[in-house]
């Protein structure tokens, strides 16, 4: 992988990646547990297992680059540099959440870091990402936009329309398809006639690349190229990360037993990206086992801090329901 990235040394980079993935993993697991206990209203869609994708891409982004997301957006928000407390408060529907409780899990947005929001309309973020790319081009800056979407979205009309726009106008967008093999319960083999969604890039005249979604460094390298391409004004790229979610589609959906087998889940877990990186870091001497434990403990307590913040935050006043229309 790149020796330096974003002004960091290689080791700083690796640790940043590792820490961010852990943050997402712990955050999401905690959110899952809270939901089971009835602490969170509505539904949540957990990113557990897919951390490498968000982190691998976002590590190559600047603060002023844009990110559009999906219903499974916590990972993207945190990977882009979001604040766990404000996100947790938003999931609780509290006033101090990113969206003052108005958006919730599926619409959580952090505009200060240009993360323009989770979006439960499948595929809706794709043309919006193209639009952000258009604004970048018109304002003549060298920002880029990373657009995350799933295998399911690749069959929506907006996939076609949005990528088409970005392709004809050479917009600085990196389209990242998180192919976790299932659109809710429907396996990708039943919904999509091609195995590699990246192969659709040909139809738009843009490069399409397939990456192992459980290898954060591979993702980072590929993403770096795509980001560079976009920044140079050469146009969009379609990246497909083959990944897997350990949990069900949403919290009410079981991880396996209905449309997935336990064996399948276990097989993917054996390729866990965080574990993979951990082994690499320890064996290459970047960190010791004790340091690793320290890192994990500090992240775990940061997550607890976020939960405490969220629980102490008040609900928004009722008049807020009528504001900001």
């Amino acid at each position: 992988m790149k020796a330096e990235s974003g002004g960091r040394t290689e080791s700083q980079n690796l640790l940043a990646i590792y820490g961010k993935m852990l943050e997402i993993r712990y955050f999401e697991e905690r959110v899952g547990a809270l939901w089971r206990r009835g602490m969170l209203p509505g539904s949540v869609h957990l990113y557990v297992g897919e951390e490498a994708v968000a982190v691998g891409v976002c590590i190559n982004l600047r603060q002023d680059d844009y990110v559009t997301s999906t219903h499974r957006g916590h990972g993207h928000l945190l990977a882009k540099g979001g604040n766990m407390s404000k996100l947790m408060a938003e999931l609780y529907g509290k006033k101090d959440g990113y969206c003052r409780g108005k958006g919730g899990s599926m619409h959580a947005a952090a505009f200060d870091i240009r993360m323009i929001g989770a979006n439960p309309i499948v595929g809706a973020g794709i043309p919006i990402a193209a639009g952000l790319g258009l604004s970048i081009k018109m304002r003549k800056t060298d920002q880029v936009c990373a657009c995350f979407f799933g295998d399911g979205a690749s069959n929506q009309g907006t996939f076609h329309e949005g990528i088409n726009f970005a392709a004809i106008w050479k917009l600085p967008v990196v389209f990242v398809c998180e192919n976790n093999l299932y659109g809710v319960s429907v396996p990708v083999s039943k919904s999509t006639p091609v195995v590699d969604i990246a192969s659709r890039a040909v139809g738009y005249g843009i490069p399409g690349k397939v990456v192992d979604g459980m290898d954060v460094l591979a993702i980072s390298d590929t993403a770096a190229e795509a980001v560079e391409r976009a920044r140079k004004g050469l146009g969009p790229t379609l990246l497909e990360c083959k990944t897997y979610r350990y949990e069900g589609h949403s919290r009410g959906d079981p991880a396996f037993g209905v449309y997935r087998t336990r064996d399948e889940v276990e097989a993917w877990k054996k390729r866990d990206p965080i574990e993979k990186l951990r082994q690499h870091l320890v064996s290459s001497g970047y960190i010791t086992l004790e340091q690793d434990q320290e890192i994990r403990d500090s992240i775990a307590s940061a997550v607890e801090e976020a939960v405490r913040f969220a629980e102490e935050s008040p609900y928004p006043p009722l008049e807020d329901a009528l504001r900001d229309v």
Partner: protein, 306 residues
């Protein structure tokens, strides 16, 4: 566009402007960087516009026919109209969507609709419905200078209508109705082309000694309730004329407002004149039958005056 370089136009055929010629010539003035021809991709056009808007530009998107806006409903209703709210005020969407609507003459059910009520019903979306050239200029400027999504509905038949338009810069605020004709006997509330048909009816009614007041809301969202209620207070009678389908049309909302807030003013039942609940037919006699004309308006007014 001269005033603010963030403003740009995108849409199908906006460069050569073949269909209704509204953007004709603009490419020569502003260049292809600001007048963008798009593929046929309505949902994509609006989605891209939303992205451009939150990215700091001020897009003016053209959808070739109001009917086609239905292809973009998700981006209009779920995305553009709700972003400010859903993000808790972190962002806003300064987007103007212009589209020709209403009937022209045998354009058929998919190119003749007036679905202003769908959008009046959408929170977070402003809806402008100018009926004169003067109003159109003022309202469009307000729309473009604003910070929030606006649907600017242009009636196809009004493109040919000429009127006085001052050269200088002026804006018309949203939520400000215009009394196009004063009268003491009956209030007619109408939008777009129906304003003119109501004025035609008013002339006929005047010869029958009934003086009609024609109130043009100019924007459906926000709606100028004050002017509307003051007029009904004066006349005691209300007829709403719309080119949309009667059931749950704008007339239903306006009638409800008056029934709730001005029941004591009413000296007669409220009447609504609209298209019956059918798609717009192709054949000219059928089409003219369903679109309200001056005769039907006269008839409706007379039915509540005597």
């Amino acid at each position: 566009m001269h005033r603010d370089e963030r403003v740009f136009i995108l849409g199908e055929d906006v460069v050569f402007a073949y269909t209704f010629a509204v953007t004709k010539g603009l490419k020569d003035e502003f260049g292809e960087e600001r007048i963008l021809d798009t593929p046929i991709s309505e949902n994509g056009i609006i989605g891209v516009s939303v992205g451009a808007a939150i990215g700091g530009m001020k897009p003016v998107a053209e959808i070739q026919f109001e009917d086609l806006l239905l292809l973009a409903m998700d981006q209009v209703v779920n995305q553009a109209a709700k972003m400010r709210y859903m993000s808790g005020g972190q962002t806003h969407v300064p987007l103007v969507i212009r589209t020709p609507g209403g009937f022209w003459g045998s354009f058929g059910p998919h190119h003749s609709q007036n679905i202003e009520s769908f959008f009046m019903h959408t929170p977070g979306l402003k809806v402008a419905v100018p009926s004169t050239a003067y109003d159109a200029k003022g309202l469009l400027k307000t729309a473009i200078r604003g910070d929030d999504p606006v649907l600017f509905l242009e009636h196809k038949r009004l493109y040919q209508m000429q009127g006085e338009v001052p050269e200088e810069d002026y804006t018309i605020p949203f939520g400000s109705a215009d009394v196009k004709r004063e009268g003491d006997d009956v209030t007619i509330v109408a939008t777009q082309l129906m304003v003119h048909r109501s004025l035609e009816a008013a002339r006929e009614l005047a010869s029958r000694k009934i003086e009609v007041e024609v109130v043009d809301p100019r924007t459906l969202a926000p709606l100028d309730k004050k002017t509307l209620l003051a007029s009904v207070e004066k006349t005691g009678r209300l007829v709403i004329v719309e080119e949309g389908c009667r059931t749950a049309g704008i007339g239903a909302e306006i009638a409800a407002i008056v029934a709730e807030e001005g029941i004591g003013y009413l000296d007669a039942p409220i009447k609504r004149v609209g298209v019956p609940d059918v798609p717009i037919p192709f054949s000219p006699p059928l089409e003219n039958y369903v679109i309200p004309d001056a005769k039907r308006i006269v008839s409706a007014v007379e039915s509540i005056v005597r």
